[in-house]
Amino acid sequence: MLWAEYDPLANRRLAILSPEGQMDEGWRPSELDDEALLHLYDRMVALRQADLLALNLQRAGRMGTYAPTLGQEAANIGSAALLQAEDWLVPSFRETGAMLLKGVSLKLIYLYWMGCEWGSHFPEEVRVLPICAPVSTQTLHGVGLSWAAQLKGENWVTLIYLGDGGTSKGDFHEAMNFAGTFQTPTVFFIQNNQFAISVPRTRQTASATLAQKAIAYGFPGIQVDGNDLMAVYLATREAVARARAGQGPCLIEAQTYRMGPHTTADDPTRYRSEAELKTQERFDPLLRVRLYLENRGLVNPETEATREAQHLKWAQEQAREAEAAISYNPDEIFDYHFAELPPYLAEQKAYCQRFLAAKGESAHGQA
């Protein structure tokens, strides 16, 4: 039981894979053989390439505001890796990697940030809620979903993501309280990336850890090194297993670090130093898995150059597909509010059509 041993109130934090890529092999669960581990690493690299390309697309004017995941690859991949197809993933807005792993295509994620609602139209079998901007409001949806599983006698577990800033919101506490009261199969996963835009973690709460907040709601919490793929994986593994076995919710605080800006609209030089960022680079979640795999002879500079190039190519293709899929039909502004278009919206839609037609006919589209 990780929870008993890594008590956040006793200042215990789960960390397994060191920044130098060293770990005690005793931690490796049997299912995480070299092939499986290499796969997770590969997903982390894919995420980083997808993320870097998104930043470039935004700068080139091909994408709207984007919230990068840079530095949070282990927290994304190590957690979502534990979900089965029947499970639900409830993202905040910095879970590109987790969403990819759960089956959302990069094309759709790009499409969302490019400004098209179809980016949240996931395939029927993909159990992921749409990206959620109002902080922590999604935690209640996740608890509702896991509660539904319990009431229906279904086996699905819900993994809810939020950030450190999200723990200050009332919805988070109401969600934790409902989850505890009804013992729902819920895993709360906090990506504590140290910043809510510019406001540091220390300004969010006087609690020594975010993990300990679970204790007040009657269920366990654990703090893990969020840049450590193994620690994230093992904590989530146990949390998901507990939830699925009907033992109720858990909270995981993954201590990570946002290496990029909050979004492309942010300027982090106003609130953190270059030196701090430099220090954090040592703890890069991707680097340590790569070093570990290199030590085991599973990857080398050549394989990695190829891997990065392949994933960049994939991301570029997904971006092109997303751009080709953007819908410019103004009728869609109206068409999806209700199962049936009500007469008053049909009237406004017809007005919009007439107005756009008239605008198109006028010489320069001007009044």
């Binding site: 949240s120 209640l140 949806h141 608890v143 539904a148 009431l151 109401e174 409902f178 999806y336």
Partner: protein, 325 residues
């Protein structure tokens, strides 16, 4: 056929629909063993069990926010908020998610749920228990808002709301929860969402109201009838979508109008109704439409509430004013 009051009619609608549709679950504060503070869910937990009639912790945002998850997870949740005055923590969930989910996912997800709550003044309730802020809700795209004024309509509208594929907010005028008794058939019948009803035909003045103000308006119509003034009273029944066609058709006939609501005057739905009449029937108007509303003030505590709420006296004065314009 049984004569029921509105509470009994709502209870019957819930019981019949829950028996018909196993996906319907009720959740909220005190809805279980107690049967709700107004007893709308009386006996339902005993009939359907604690897994379908669920007492929750006291947290409105969570009752509504988890209902979204329950709906996506396959249920048809009926969330009860104890009073409209306690709706506001849940407004974020309604505005930011429940109203938007279908559109923002281009139909991948929908949120078929009903959020019920008692609203309005007139029962000498404590502070925060008497407001009518339905205009806030009518301003939100992507939801429907129903308000019954009679036991029959309460049952029929609630059944429609329960069968609707989209979110419906259901406001119950608690002042007339037990004030009116009328015949309400057992078994299924529906009153469609988005259809107003002419509850008293007339040809000189159109009076539009909803909720408990329908009764006051009917009383005013009765009073002025003795003076020979014929008032057509329209019960809007659903404020979003609003059946302005019925209102406009009536105004085209009468040429005069009065709108009555207990909510504050400024940016209230009276203004919206007048704007629509102006757009669609301006040339039919023989007089400016009068508004009889609550004041732009905080709803007073119980000793002064009777002076705040529009009553038959104020409404009849407005009717005479538009007639004599």
């Amino acid at each position: 056929m049984a004569k029921l009051n509105m509470v009994e009619a709502l209870n019957l609608a819930l019981a019949e629909e829950m028996a018909r549709d196993p996906q319907i679950i009720l959740l909220g504060e005190d809805v279980g063993q107690l049967g709700g503070v107004f007893r709308v869910s009386d006996g339902l937990q005993a009939q359907f069990g604690p897994k379908r009639v669920i007492d929750t912790p006291l947290a409105e945002a969570a009752i509504v926010g988890t209902s979204l998850g329950l709906a996506v997870g396959g249920f048809k949740p009926v969330a009860e908020l104890q009073f409209m005055g306690f709706l506001y923590p849940a407004l974020d969930q309604i505005i930011s998610h429940i109203s938007r989910y279908r559109n923002r996912t281009r139909g991948r997800y929908s949120v078929p749920l009903v959020i019920r709550m008692p609203y309005g003044g007139g029962i000498h309730a404590p502070e925060h228990h008497s407001e009518s802020t339905e205009a806030l809700l009518a301003h939100i795209p992507g939801i429907k808002v129903a308000i019954p004024a009679t036991p029959y309509d309460a049952k029929g509208l609630l059944i429609s709301a329960l069968r609707d594929p989209d979110p419906v907010i259901f406001l119950e005028p608690k002042r007339i929860y037990r004030a009116i008794r009328e015949e309400v058939p057992a078994g299924e019948f529906t009153v469609p969402l988005g259809q107003a009803q002419i509850v008293r035909p007339g040809d000189q003045v159109t009076a539009v109201a909803w909720g408990s103000m329908v009764r006051e308006t009917l009383r005013a119509a009765e009073a002025v009838a003795e003076e020979g003034v014929s008032v057509e009273v329209i019960d809007l029944r659903t404020i979003s979508p609003m059946d302005d066609a019925t209102v406009v058709a009536s105004i085209q006939k009468t040429g005069r109008g009065v709108v009555v609501h207990e909510a504050c005057r400024t940016a209230g739905l009276g203004a919206e109704i007048i704007a629509r009449v102006n757009e669609k029937a301006f040339l039919s108007l023989a007089a400016p439409i009068e508004r009889v509303t609550g004041f732009d003030t905080i709803f007073p505590l119980l000793k002064l509430e009777e002076h705040y709420l529009p009553d038959a006296f104020r409404i009849s004065r407005a009717i005479r004013k538009v007639v004599n314009f």
